[in-house]
Symmetry: D2
Amino acid sequence: MKIAVLHGSTRENGNTEYLTYEAVPKEKATHIYLRDHLIQPIIDERHSKEGFPEVNDNHTKLIDQMLEHDILVFATPIYWYGMSGPMKTFIDRWSQIMRDPSYSHFREELGKKKAYLIAVGGDNPKLKGLPLVQQFDYICQFYGMSFEGYVLGEARKPGDIKQDKAALEAAFELVKEL
Amino acid sequence: MKIAVLHGSTRENGNTEYLTYEAVPKEKATHIYLRDHLIQPIIDERHSKEGFPEVNDNHTKLIDQMLEHDILVFATPIYWYGMSGPMKTFIDRWSQIMRDPSYSHFREELGKKKAYLIAVGGDNPKLKGLPLVQQFDYICQFYGMSFEGYVLGEARKPGDIKQDKAALEAAFELVKEL
Amino acid sequence: MKIAVLHGSTRENGNTEYLTYEAVPKEKATHIYLRDHLIQPIIDERHSKEGFPEVNDNHTKLIDQMLEHDILVFATPIYWYGMSGPMKTFIDRWSQIMRDPSYSHFREELGKKKAYLIAVGGDNPKLKGLPLVQQFDYICQFYGMSFEGYVLGEARKPGDIKQDKAALEAAFELVKEL
Amino acid sequence: MKIAVLHGSTRENGNTEYLTYEAVPKEKATHIYLRDHLIQPIIDERHSKEGFPEVNDNHTKLIDQMLEHDILVFATPIYWYGMSGPMKTFIDRWSQIMRDPSYSHFREELGKKKAYLIAVGGDNPKLKGLPLVQQFDYICQFYGMSFEGYVLGEARKPGDIKQDKAALEAAFELVKEL
């Protein structure tokens, strides 16, 4: 089972990354840091005659890489009670992928994968992160992905996550295929 | 009471806009279309020594404009069960505004405002849009904004929203100050 | 299409009933007032050898009545952010019905029905009633019932619901089959 | 810090109890089994002239016992995506307690307490139990109780909970005051 971790943090070595490595050590997976890639925001052209224009960025390269794996771990800091902007932008563009004839099997392919969510926030994330978990569940349902589990961690300042023993333990146990 | 509407759609004259004009006619408010403005994604530098670098875009201009109003209506299509990328990026950057000495009253100022949410989606939004409503509620709670109401509309193809009579009626009644 | 309304209020002619009659006038449906019927709490015997003991109350009579209709409207005051105790007890006992050989088609039968929810609360129900809506959605999903819509009304003291114009209008439009 | 555990299970020694003893061993707390006590359903008389009639059951005795403790652990099986009927009935009756002159300090007293939730279900409880967690959070907010944490366990048949290692570990760490 090949594992890919999609990191939505905008900071290097932040709390979310720390918790995520507890779940999926660096050497056990392909770690993709969305911040290192140019991803344009979506412009919704689903209903225009010309369809979506080609976009000159790294998005399809990332999609290709993602599709080569069986298990997808989405790791994001909680920004304003949702996923980070970079991760949102990455996922928003899936709407475009679904209209792309070169990716006609995108939905079906995702439907074969297992997904996990790791999210870290500073404002009571174990409660206020629940809507994010529910959204992620809806995304998985849409694609038929199996949503296998999630961990919510609490951290405000750099390094705080080390105090959240419960989250660290839960992360360590999270990915059953490891 | 001055009203500002913040539009998160990436398409002009889409379903979300149609529903929003039902709630707040064009001439009754300042309508701000986020898609017309350059807004850079946030890079989280809350914890770096230098703080956030200056960003060369339209974000603070939009913030200034927003703060001049008493009532804020957030209108967004539902993308993947959350707000649109442009609206997420706009709000994510509020974290930077809060660290900006020129905006030391930002949180307090927002705390005096009333907020409304209008969101339109194609996949059972009256249920699957609820996590978005809850996130928006948490955002309002953080700033002390009074969350006065929301409308969820259903539409898939252009023009579909005209069939959602319940949403149109609810939108028409939404903003009590009109 | 035959409509049954299941009323969970413990008070007669309360706010929830008022709003519900706006959605389903008395003469247009079978109105069942759970408070008028003896319904014992469930005792979970799913896993005991003897199975569930026979219970001497009105529950199966109500189930029979419910199953004769095509559309089920669940109307409940919001007690502590959930459905009322009587409605909860009524639904909890469905677990027993599912083990009863005389009701082997219970789940399948419910799966053919359409369901609506009407709920009225005093503490910000349009936000704090959302978990109840989500629970109800999960119940519908379990049985394969089609969850067609819901209305959340706000009322604290008797008669207050008359001020919630938005809920009254939404209730009036709620049941599409009327 | 004195701990009371309120058990909402209707079965003895079920999965919820097993998980709960992992969090709070028998000898470390007062364990109250709601099923052993007669608790009448609420009849809403908040708005009748005579107020609530006296009810001849064990409810106030349980309330007295609950109030003698500093930390309250609510342990319930998940029935139809909500708390069990007995626990719902127990909490519904708090509305009556609040109108009882002998309990004029009820809300204030609860506001000094810390609360935990343990819930076990068979149908994807780590996702479908989230609305229950949110409801419990609203209950805590109403009283000003500090909601300190929750654990959701998965179990369908008797003994299944022993397979949910993540829940058992999380339960073991749950109550910080132990």
